[in-house]
Amino acid sequence: MSSVFASPQENGWQKWKAVWARNEALSLLVLLAGVIALFMVIEPTMRKSSVYWDLLRQVSPTMVAAVGITLLLLSGEFDLTVGSMLALTGIVIVDTFNRTDNMWLGILAGLLTGLVIGAINGTFVTVIGMESLMTTLGMMFAIRGLVYVYTNQTPIVDQNRFTQFTRLWFKNFGPVPSPIIVALVLVALAYFLATRTEFGRNTYAIGGNANAARVSGINVRRVKFTLFVISGLMASVAGLLYTAQTDTGYFNAGLGFELEVLAAVVLGGASLAGGQGNVTSTALAVLIIGTIGKGMRLMSIDTTQQLLVIGIVMLIAVYYHRIRKQTAARLTQEAYAARQAARGNVLA
């Protein structure tokens, strides 16, 4: 009980601990730095900067989709359609290319797909009142199935070979790959939306307590509907980037992508119950998972065995979050007790 009388701020170590515990993004940054440092020590190729630019290119579709899901999850709703969306968007884009010979129409059609699917999901959940996890699980199978039916399980190749389109994936601005620029712009927009606007505050409020939010005059349905549309749109942007990589619409694209994205979101500290989490943390979590995958590939660890490591890392990371949150809560309590003690309030 001696710690009760020592204000945490007096001790240098304690002070840093408090900063770490109270800042989620910072704690993830520490984790990311640790992972990178570890790989730099054991794998010499991980010391090259080109590896990291490459990594940023590869994680960008996941980052875009994960940010959309994070915003939606803040309000307490799920979207499992992102994996199927990756396939659908690719098919729609390349098919429109082939039918219209116009690149911009194809891209537009791809984005429109996300908008429409997001709106359908949103209508099911907010207008009819269906549960989002179940609804988007159904939509996930329905979309994937329609892709199978439409393509008859054969890839659709871009006959025009729009090299301009593939630049979306391969072009570099200096050392910076273009897809990560798209991703970071969207992360920044999402960050702004979540933290600096009324819409963002309403989203957090709904996730914290939907009934309280409704009673205090927030239009819960409209906010959730908008979030579904945003999530759909983000998924189609991820599909756009993914498709630019091969210039081909694959019917099997993004199988299991929804769980991969969800893993990153959860690693970023978002709560599945809603109300907790933030966009920056999700982006950092995507980087952490990406770095581990990249590092293991460079160490030529079998792709299949990487799953094992990623699973273990996920468990450790979630536990790390728990400890951090507990530390934050304890520090707050101790600071409160110390303040009360300083005032001579013994009962506290």
Partner: protein
């Protein structure tokens, strides 16, 4: 949440009415009833459209395929009633199967192979329980991680598949044989499914243990305060789910005649889809084995019907999705009309 406020027992209002009305009310008033109706209509339709559908052979094959999802689904139902979930059952199809086939090849004994599968299931279930309940991390996340870990273990233990090197005659009969031939031939997987359905159905509805599961899912704090050993019961549910998933895996390797390390990809979502379709909820406290069974049969019938009626089999995935959407839609409308929230 207002969802906690339940309507008074419906049978009270129905007491004065005729038994037909009462029957109809029950049929439309529950997820199981609606599912039963859909399955019945679908079966009648398929019988009228195809001569092959209602034959002993076709129904047997269809239900054999359903049995793997249903058996895993029974465990998952108990777990989801207790407000937990297990996403690792798909990877389990691979890992338990691969391990069992290796054990079969080493031992040339069916029992040892089966025990190896069940042991893998129990261990993975225990790890899921330990991480969820001990470290207090959401089971969704724990089992999402375990899904990767178990899949990784399956990949590590074999490059592609473990072939059948033991050539046990009894092994093939696990999936293709029938212990009961008369008066109707009941394939072994279907028999297993029925036995497990009865055992766990009785446990869930007739024992303190079963009632405790519902109590925990309905309100964990209240259950704990009233002396129910919450963690122990949840742990048992995790282990049961793991073992039933492993049993499905054993039937799968008998069907494939090899233990494949990429088996069961996406299986977890099919199982969870069936359980949710059967009336369970992620929020816990709800769900029955009958519902899960009917949902699994429904999805199996749809797949079977698509093939029998000569439609493009690419429609199967889409129709599964549309069935889930329809069921959720009907359930939502039903609850709106009966005033449940």
């Amino acid at each position: 949440m207002s969802a906690e406020i339940s309507t008074p027992a419906r049978s009270v209002g129905a007491s004065g009415q005729s038994s037909l009305q009462d029957f109809l009310r029950r049929l439309f008033g529950s997820q199981e009833g609606v599912l039963f109706l859909i399955v019945a209509v679908l079966w009648l339709y398929l019988m009228s459209r195809s001569d092959v559908f209602f034959t002993q052979r076709n129904i047997g094959v269809m239900l054999s395929q359903v049995s793997m999802i249903a058996i895993t689904g029974f465990g998952m139902t108990m777990l989801m009633i207790a407000r937990e979930v297990d996403l690792s059952v798909g990877s389990m199809q691979a890992f338990a199967g691969v391990t069992a086939m290796q054990a079969l090849n080493e031992s040339h004994s069916l029992i040892v192979g089966l025990l190896a599968a069940l042991a893998v299931g129990a261990i993975v279930g225990a790890i899921n329980a330990g991480a969820t309940l001990g470290l207090k991390i959401s089971s969704f996340i724990v089992t999402l991680a375990m899904m990767q870990i178990v899949r990784g273990l399956a990949y590590t233990s074999t490059n592609a598949a473990v072939q059948n090197e033991h050539k046990l005659a009894s092994f093939k009969k696990v999936f293709n044989g029938a212990f009961i031939e008369n008066p109707v031939r009941i394939p072994n997987p279907v028999l297993t499914m029925v036995i497990i359905f009865i055992i766990f159905g009785l446990i869930l509805s007739r024992t303190t243990f079963g009632r405790s599961i519902y109590a925990i899912g309905g309100n964990p704090e209240a259950a704990a305060l009233s002396g129910i050993p919450v963690n122990r019961i949840k742990a048992i549910c995790f282990i049961i789910t793991g073992m039933l998933a492993a049993l499905s895996a054993f039937m799968l390797i008998a069907r494939m005649n090899s233990g494949q390390n990429n088996a069961g990809f996406g299986f977890e979502l099919q199982v969870i889809g069936s359980v949710l379709l059967g009336g369970a909820s992620l929020a816990g406290g709800k769900g029955t084995l009958v519902g899960t069974l009917l949902a699994a049969v429904l999805l199996g019938t749809v797949n079977n019907g698509i093939v029998l009626l000569g439609y493009n089999s690419n429609w199967q995935t889409a129709v599964v999705g549309l069935m889930i959407l329809t069921a959720v839609f009907l359930d939502t409308m039903r609850r709106r009309m009966t005033g449940q929230s």
